[in-house]
């Protein structure tokens, strides 16, 4: 079984960000024919308060911890955010700020964003890609940006194609990476401590 977590930072219900996430998820599934694929969707709006509480207290609530488990134990991630003020949304960033650090290590990630106009499309390259690289994820080379026009106007057909290309690239990356082993939290720290204590004798 392959599990691909879908994290969407849209704030409205329904939201165009969720819509884009669903279409990406569908396209990825199409590129994995005959496979058992689970795609749990995490709407960040639903854990908004828990995310802020975790920032303030330093630990996640039981509900948020379950969400963290879902993300950390997935084989891949589709992450979609609205573009706010020339970057990802604050809630989207906050979620990844409180997610325990090794959760995304070696995880294939497909990034995508929505916005009012296509002028913000580089938000994918200057905000999302560096953040996921910092978290040691493997970011898929083709990202998708969808502006309002893409959902209705002349761009709609081209969005279909972009989603399909991005999904194909992500699935290639996913297959190349193979089944993922969830990184042990604190493994590095404990190894370091054992090494230091070993050096005493």
């Amino acid at each position: 079984m392959t599990t691909i977590a879908v994290v969407t930072g849209g704030l409205r219900e329904p939201s165009s960000t969720r819509l884009l996430a669903d279409r990406l998820a569908g396209a990825v599934r199409d590129h994995l024919p005959g496979q058992d694929v689970q795609m749990p969707v995490i709407e960040l709006r639903h854990v908004g308060r828990a995310v802020v509480d975790a920032m303030l207290t330093g630990f996640p609530s039981a509900e948020l911890e379950q969400v963290f488990d879902t993300v950390a134990s997935a084989d891949g991630l589709i992450a979609v955010t609205p573009a706010f003020n020339a970057s990802f949304s604050g809630l989207f960033k906050s979620f990844f700020d409180v997610l325990p650090e090794p959760s995304l290590q070696d995880m294939p990630v497909l990034i995508a964003a929505t916005g009012g106009t296509e002028r913000h499309s580089l938000v994918l390259e200057h905000a999302l890609r560096p953040m996921f690289s910092y978290l040691h994820a493997v970011v898929s080379p083709i990202a998708v940006y969808a502006a309002t026009d893409d959902f209705a106007g002349a761009g709609a057909g081209s969005l279909d194609q972009r989603i399909d290309r991005a999904a194909a690239a992500f699935v290639r990356l996913l297959s190349a990476c193979g089944p993922r082993e969830r990184p042990q939290e604190y493994a590095a720290e404990l190894g370091e401590m054992e090494r230091l204590l070993g050096g005493l004798k």
Binding site: D53, L56, T57, G58, A62, E65, L190, E192, M193, L196
Partner: protein, 378 residues
């Protein structure tokens, strides 16, 4: 001597009382801390532990001064720390200060070591925060050497070498104070405590029980790995966080304004969410008893339980009332209940007397006929 120790630990924070707007002066807070410790002794608690902080709004920057002053005015209270900073204090000075305290108190003390959670403290004492873990390991190895060896020749990375150094005064009866290693979230500390066979204290109060459970399980397993005994024989301490009134709704109503504005967790989750997610218990003494007894379900039989009762700007009078409830209604029941079903091979909480007895016992075992035989045949 009781099987488990019960007591309180203080952060020593100067926090505005949100219900009156009043903040104690540093002088008032220090004097209040002494009153709290004396009350703990009077109501029959076993342990008082003070934090160590080097910046406002905290007052306890010199723990052994405070503890010695309290020791002089108490009868049986064991004095400890929560925690002593093993990273930024010179381990030689820690050994000296706590050695003097040990003699003054006739062994009525121990020490709990921690890394500290205030980044800026490191440079104030000439240390590098990035080296916190290697500093902890090296400093503790030196502290052990200074306590355990008569003449110390030592060289490390973070401190001037020692040649022919002897600690003065030597530990009371030749037995250094018992050491606990404390952690809020760092699992590395479980490894350090297990390696030396020292006690492990889980702060417990600001984190969910599941995290404490994992850390204690790991410590117990590693304690056995390093051949100090079975996992069940490891020495475990836990923090706890309570506010009580005879009527539980009164406790909730009275504590809520303090909770909402408290340092560390204030302005975040609601009181109800925080009590569900962490061991904080706000309610009647009976509720505190039930919650505390449930700790054993996820850490096993343990040795020391310390409660936080004096933070977030709670007035001294209220804190003293909490201690009355702890001493009269809660701890006597906990002593009785925790003793039920406690296996015989689970050690009691270590004290100076028990450590001296153990050392004598080990000495006797070393002088077995086997070694006498060797001497005779030689």
């Amino acid at each position: 001597m009781s099987q488990m120790q019960f007591g309180i630990f203080t952060v020593g924070d100067l926090t505005r009382d949100p219900t009156t707007g009043k903040t104690l002066s540093e002088h008032e807070r220090i004097k209040a801390t002494v009153e709290i410790a004396k009350k703990a002794d009077e109501v029959g608690l076993d342990v008082f532990a003070t934090g160590e902080h080097h910046n406002p709004p905290f007052v306890p920057s010199s723990p052994t001064t405070l503890l010695a002053y309290i020791a002089a005015q108490t009868e049986r209270l064991l004095l400890s720390t929560s925690t002593t900073l093993i990273t930024t204090n010179d381990p030689v000075k820690i050994a000296e200060d706590f050695s003097v305290l040990q003699h003054l108190t006739d062994g009525r003390m121990d020490i709990m070591l921690g890394r500290g959670n205030t980044g800026p403290v490191y440079p104030w004492f000439g240390k590098d925060l990035r080296a916190a873990i290697p500093l902890t390991v090296e400093n503790y190895a030196l502290l052990r050497a200074v306590w355990d060896e008569e003449i110390v020749n030592w060289e490390g990375k973070y401190r001037t070498p020692l040649q022919g150094f002897t600690l003065a005064p030597r530990p009371l009866d030749g037995i250094p104070p018992f050491v606990w290693h404390a952690s809020i979230r760092s699992p590395e500390i479980t490894e350090l405590a297990a390696y030396y066979g020292d006690g492990f204290f889980a702060n417990h109060i600001f984190w969910p029980a599941s995290h404490t459970q994992q850390m204690v399980a790991r410590y117990r397993e590693r304690f056995a790995h390093y051949r100090h005994g079975t996992p069940e024989q490891a020495i475990v301490g836990l923090g706890g966080h309570v506010f009580m009134r005879p009527n539980s709704q009164d406790a909730v109503n009275e504590f809520r304004p303090y909770f909402d504005e408290a340092p560390v967790y204030g302005h975040g989750p609601s009181l109800e969410e925080f009590t569900a997610d962490t061991p904080l218990t706000v309610g009647s003494p009976q509720q505190v008893i039930e919650r505390t007894l449930s700790f054993r379900d996820y850490v096993g039989d343990y040795q020391r339980q310390l409660f936080l009762v004096d933070h977030a700007g709670l007035p001294l009078k209220t804190v003293l009332e909490q201690l009355d409830l702890l001493g009269e209604e809660v701890v006597p029941v906990l002593r009785k209940e925790f003793a039920i079903g406690r296996p015989a091979d689970v050690p009691d909480a270590p004290t100076h007397a028990s450590l001296v007895a153990k050392a004598r016992e080990e000495q006797r075992t070393d002088d077995t006929p086997e070694s006498t035989d060797q001497e005779e045949s030689a």
